[in-house]
Amino acid sequence: MPIRTEPITINIGPQHPSTHGVFRLRVTFDGEMIVDVEPVFGYLHRGTEKLAEERNYTQIVTLTDRLDYVASMTNNQAYCLGVERLMGIEVPVRGQYLRVMAAELQRIASHLVATGFLLQDLGALGTPLMYCFRERERILDLFEMLCGARITVSYMRPGGVYYDAPEDFWPALSRFLDYMPSYLDELEQLLAENEIILVRVRGVGILPIDRLIACSASGPILRASGLAWDWRKADPYDVYDGLEFDVPVGTNGDNLDRFWVRMQEMRQSLRIVRQCVEQIPGGPVRAELPLVLRPPKGAEAYGRVESPKGELGFYLVSDGGISPYRCKIRSPSLLNLTIIKDLLIGWKLADMIVNLGSIDINMGEVDR
């Protein structure tokens, strides 16, 4: 006699240990299997796009910090690129190099957080998370030297960066660059040689590449499924044109590949920073600009970067005033989240948490 069962609906979030912020999922389970998922978000909506219409072009930089708060530098960069394109500002080369360095350090920091939380979601009670955060702390210390802030940095400005790096920044950076590869080896070994982690992530949460493209996903999750697509190569901004680096791609598009792609990107970022340290010229770090920027009326521009999570874009429209007429933010986390049904349905509850962690969403950016 078959046992009559019925699906059970569970509300996961907005307060839940592993939804990465105030994210809510209404999940229908058949036993441990997920049969339906309904994401509910907007709990962290702060109206960033509307607030931007009330502030002048320099002030908006501080709003961008709070979008993806674990990767503020790349947010600054994307916005500043947008403003520069809007007004046709030429950024001094030293400023561009400093931006690229800061952005790549931020990429390492963000990927460390993503990896640490992925392991936390796997149930490794805090230990790998604390190890990742210890290394992230070194990067935040470097940021503190650059601009005095650690998380909400507001380091970049339209036309360059706010300050030149202080004298003691360079030895600290070179110590970091010497130390970091051995730590990455250790972290990779910790994961790639742990049988429990491998059985949990390998072959789990496979995302087919055509679905990812259909959902306009970008960033590491796209590359993990096999498409080598990176805006730093496809449409180089700042000084990425003159820097050598590889774009790592995965083959399976499972959780292990997404982890692996992030690991390799951290190594590539270190390579980029090293090249920047060698190549960086002297000179000013910021273009001479008036205190209050006034782009021409009717100008439109789209500034985009390859943020740690994918393509981050700012679409700015000017009406000739001191504030943008419209500031549309194309956030990678939100668009990567649209793949959620393909990612979660059919997997078990335990896998669901890991899958969700592996696409590395940030609710500050999703809800804006």
Binding site: I10, L198, A234, D241, P248, A350
Partner: protein, 417 residues
């Protein structure tokens, strides 16, 4: 002295009981000796319960400190020397919390759970000898009693999950029942080897039989026992019952205040109890390399500390398995290993024992020489077998064969995706 225990008494061997009884007997008229027995019995229970509570509190502190160290942070260090009074501060905080019962809860079952989960922990420790002739009870079916008592904790978990009226709790409970019942079988079977070697189920006899610690005579036994008991105690990598990152707190999601404290105490005290049982059965309990009679309790505590540390270490290191992998591990790995251990031990005992059924030190040494290679071969063979079963077949690359790096097309060739 009005009431005292003589050499012919049933209680003579139990030093603890005898001393308490005789001390009270000094002031007790001889017509009330039965009352002396009752008072001594209750005093023994008082010692046991408080010992377990104190042990659990100490363990909570130790776990948090050691985990903190392993995770590159400090752990509790404010209240008392080295933060030793932290568990007491926590307890006071929890006592002052509002005692909530959720609206949809089955009230009676919900309220009974803290008692049901704490009882087996305290009762189980009663048969563990702490030093020579110092135990609270010497049951001749001690091992069987332990197995029966610890089996009750499954009931507590199921009651908590069902009565809470919370779906996270029910998920935890359902997982728990499936897992705990599966792991009980290999855990119990791993103890059969010990019983065969000792020729008795009494824990006192088991300690006395360990001329060589059974941890080396029964390497498969200790392996299966430690893995099985980790699952029974819901500790990583088998903590799917609580699974903080999945089920918030699992079966005790809805518990708050002092009820939460009791449920937590059952969890943490369980580790202490399991370590005590493991050190008694596998490490020789109170017997040490020298001065076993005088320093018995110290040896016992050192061995207990070793196992406790092992549990904390495992918790700090391993991620969690998924439920299907956990079940596969129990039935495809631990269960056959415990069966192999039983067969091997039975044959060895059958061939090596003398006329009285006793085993000499040389016999145990020979068994060690056979069992350690056997354990290595078995673990290697079954490990490979299970790994192939558990691993998803679609994996195309391993740690040594990452896919090759490819570079992007040059700038300008991109078509905008």
């Amino acid at each position: 002295m009005n009431c005292s225990i003589g050499a012919d008494s049933l209680f003579h061997d139990n030093v603890l009981y005898r001393h308490i009884y005789n001390a009270i007997g000094e002031v007790m008229p001889s017509s009330l000796c039965w009352l002396d027995h009752i008072i001594s019995g209750f005093l023994i229970i008082l010692i046991l319960v408080n010992g377990v509570l104190l042990g659990a509190a100490l363990f909570v502190w130790l776990e948090r400190r050691v985990l903190g160290r392993m995770q590159n942070r400090l752990g509790p260090n404010r209240w008392g020397p080295f933060g030793l009074l932290q568990p007491i501060a926590d307890l006071v905080k929890l006592l002052t919390k509002e005692d909530l019962v959720p609206q949809g809860a089955d009230r009676i079952a919900f309220l009974m759970v803290p008692i049901v989960v704490v009882f087996p922990l305290i009762a189980g420790l009663a048969v563990v000898p702490i030093a020579r002739n110092t135990f609270l009870a010497d049951l001749n079916i001690g091992v069987l009693y332990l197995v029966a008592i610890t089996g009750l904790s499954t009931l507590g978990i199921f009651m908590a999950g069902w009565s809470s009226g919370n779906r996270y709790a029910m998920f935890g409970a359902m997982r728990g029942v499936a897992m705990l019942i599966s792991y009980e079988i290999p855990t119990v079977l791993s103890l059969v080897g010990i019983v065969l070697l000792a020729g008795s189920m009494s824990l006192v006899d088991v300690v006395n039989a360990q001329q060589i610690p059974f941890i080396v005579v029964q390497p498969l036994g200790i392996l299966v026992f430690m893995l099985g008991i980790s699952a029974e105690l819901n500790r990583t990598p088998f903590d799917i019952v609580e699974a903080e990152s999945e089920l918030v707190a699992g079966y005790h999601t809805e518990y708050s205040g002092i009820k939460f404290a009791l449920v937590q105490m059952a969890e943490f005290g369980g580790v202490v109890a399991a370590s005590a049982v493991a050190s008694t059965l596998f490490m020789g309990g109170w017997s040490g390399p020298f001065l076993s009679g005088q320093l018995g309790a110290l040896w016992f505590l050192m061995k207990l500390g070793f196992f406790v540390f092992l549990f904390i270490w495992i918790r700090a290191t391993f991620p969690r398995l998924r439920i299907d992998q956990i079940m596969a591990f129990a039935w495809k790995f631990l269960f056959p290993m415990s069966l192999i251990n039983i067969v091997a031990t039975t044959l060895q005992v059958y061939w090596l024992r003398d006329e009285t059924g006793a085993l000499s030190r040389g016999d145990l040494g020979l068994m060690t020489a056979i069992n350690i290679p056997l354990a290595i071969v078995t673990v290697a063979a079954f490990g490979t077998l299970v790994r192939d079963k558990v691993r998803p077949p679609m994996s195309t690359f391993g740690a040594g064969a990452w896919p090759s790096r490819t570079t992007m097309p040059a700038a300008g060739q991109g078509d905008g995706a």
